[in-house]
């Protein structure tokens, strides 16, 4: 009887020892705190403290040099009433809507292609992936040159694609209408390898038996793709979709480097506005407020996305 009915804590007491115990009844070990202490220190100092400090800064009119004055929600009100802020929201959403479907389709196509293990597939895989190992600055510099209106190779070869482009050279990065698609093209080139590798891992997890069974039933490759590959790939596709949307809402480097947010603000993303407000206009409070709005936006979009995808999955 003895031990069985005693709670672990009572058993300790009976033995003359008093350990702290976790809820599952295991002895709490002090050494656990030592293991997490170094990380926790970094976490508190560089995550928790700035998160709270940022919230405070966003409620002040601080500019870096002046004495910060508490101004309540004025920064938030200003942002929400500012056409510039909403323009950057529109730009960011526009970028996301263009970029995410494109990169997902290209990434899926590349993954399916590489998965076939045709001759030369390792070379193709390396080719698609290689831009991704480099910094955004490489992509930016290369595409500034490729997409140059007068001297870029893209415009030259477009002339071969359609005679229309002999007389009309697209003003890629220098026209408000064309600038965002240009950035999207460069970014698809840069990041497609990442999607490819994630989706490739998903493809490799699909059991071969499914395809063999389909073969017996006389399924065509296209049927296989729609009725086996896509449904089985759903977790990977979901992952790619969610991470891409979050990443797109945080877009910064390409715009900063390739267009500086122009022409006429047409490629200023929310994060670029945060950067400009803080480090060019020295309005730290206002900038912090926008960064919190961005955080809330990302949070909301992610929750909605996961809900939708989950609901979709349940059906």
């Amino acid at each position: 009887m003895a031990d069985g009915v005693l709670t672990p804590a009572l058993a300790d007491a009976a033995r003359g020892r008093a350990w702290l115990r976790t809820r599952s009844g295991e002895r709490s070990e002090l050494v656990g705190y030592l293991f997490i202490a170094p990380y926790l220190l970094a976490f508190v100092l560089f995550m928790l403290v700035p998160a709270i400090a940022g919230l405070y800064v966003s409620l002040t009119n601080w500019g870096g040099l002046n004495v910060a004055r508490f101004i309540g929600l004025a920064n938030y009100a200003e942002a929400l009433n500012s056409s510039i802020f909403w323009y950057t929201v529109r730009n960011t959403v526009y970028y996301t809507i263009l970029f995410v479907p494109l990169v997902s389709v290209f990434g899926l196509a590349a993954a399916v292609f590489v998965h076939q293990k045709f001759p030369g597939y390792t070379l193709a895989r390396a080719a698609f992936y290689s831009p991704y190992v480099m910094a955004v600055t490489v992509t930016g510099l290369i595409w500034l040159w490729l997409l140059n209106q007068n001297w870029g190779v893209v415009n030259y070869y477009l002339g071969y694609v359609h005679p229309y482009f002999h007389s009309f050279r697209p003003p890629w990065l220098i026209d408000a209408e064309w600038a965002m698609p240009s950035i999207v093209i460069a970014t698809v080139w840069w990041l497609v390898g990442y999607q490819m590798v994630i989706l490739l891992a998903g493809l490799q997890d699909i059991p071969d038996q499914l395809y063999e069974a389909a073969k017996i039933d006389g399924g065509s490759p296209i049927q296989n793709f729609w009725y086996i590959t896509i449904p089985m790939l759903r977790p990977s596709l979901t992952f790619v979709l969610v991470t891409n949307v979050i990443g797109s809402l945080r877009v910064f480097g390409q715009m900063f480097l390739m267009t500086s947010g122009g022409p006429a603000g047409a490629t200023t993303s929310v994060v670029l506005l945060i950067y400009q407000s803080a480090f060019q206009n020295f309005r730290l409070g206002y900038s912090a407020a926008i960064s919190y709005l961005l955080f809330l936006g990302i949070l909301a979009v992610t929750i909605v996305q996961l809900r939708l995808l989950r609901a979709n999955q349940a059906v």
Partner: protein
């Protein structure tokens, strides 16, 4: 006879659709590397041959003029800075994250679940939301334009902790329990048994973290202004060609800068190709 019948066996039929798919895929792959070729070619051209219509794919004479111009900046210093920052940051992250991940996965202590959930929720916190207060803190502490300033904020990421916890939870317990019974301390078990077993996770995270730090632009751009601490991507920004300034030398300069920046990661990637892709695939996330 036998040989003849082998020869006469129907030729391997090549599926038309497959051939088309292959051609399309390889064509796209070729298209993907063409920008690199054009980058290198432009970087080696003499100033007068850069702006040509129709474009000329190969330099008529190879010149290192553009490279000379780029290298008159502190490029070597930027590379050294990137190397130090990425290396130190990666090592620290591996240490902090593996220890914390191990404790969260294996060592029972009071408040463990609460702490873990607190850490986990910050995975959703975009770095951009922390950047203003971090900049203010680091400037006030005199850490702007220092290696510490570049390295420290990255250490708070919860991602590696989460990864290592998952990994350690997946390891069989028996080995560790046996060592414990033999009188091994928690630290001994972690250091001698669990960590060596975690090598795949360590390698994957190391590659991703090093690459992420090497390529990072946003925070280094904010926290550095002096050449002494600038990292490669920050330094390279100044080589972008000016708007509307269609000058041959500007593009030569930009392409030489891009090449200098592209080659080292490209070489490392080609050598460690499998680890790169496996790392991304197992670890996922980070973009």
């Amino acid at each position: 006879m036998a040989a003849a019948s082998l020869w006469l066996r129907r030729p391997r039929r090549i599926d038309r659709g497959k051939l088309l798919f292959w051609a399309l895929g390889m064509g796209a792959a070729l298209l993907w590397v063409v920008p690199f070729g054009w980058m290198i070619s432009t970087s080696l051209k003499p100033e007068g041959q850069i702006l040509r219509y129709p474009p000329e794919w190969l330099p008529r004479e190879v010149t290192l003029e553009s490279y000379g111009r780029v290298l008159s900046f502190q490029v070597g210093r930027w590379f050294w800075n990137s190397f130090v920052v990425a290396t130190v940051s990666t090592l620290l992250t591996l240490m902090l994250n593996s220890a914390a991940g191990y404790a969260f996965g294996r060592i029972p202590f009071l408040g463990r679940e609460v702490l873990f959930v607190a850490v986990l929720t910050t995975l959703m916190m975009p770095f951009e939301a922390l950047v203003i207060p971090l900049f203010v803190m680091f400037s006030a502490a005199g850490l702007a334009n220092t290696y510490a300033g570049l390295i420290l904020p990255g250490l708070s990421s919860a991602f590696g902790v989460f990864l290592f916890r998952q990994f350690f939870l997946g390891l069989p317990r028996d080995l560790e329990d046996a060592a414990r019974i033999d009188g091994c301390t928690r630290w001994g078990v972690f250091w001698r048994i669990a960590l060596p077993l975690a090598q795949p996770a360590l390698v994957a995270l190391a590659i991703l973290h090093f690459m992420g730090n090497w390529n990072n632009l946003f925070w280094p751009l904010i926290v550095t202004s002096s050449d002494d601490v600038k990292t490669v991507p920050v330094g390279m920004i100044q080589f972008r060609p000016g708007f509307g300034a269609d000058q041959g030398w500007a593009f030569g300069l930009a392409m030489a800068a891009a090449t200098i920046q592209a080659v080292p990661p490209l070489i490392v990637f080609l050598i460690l190709q499998r680890q790169f892709m496996k790392g991304i695939a197992t670890v996922g996330l980070k973009g």
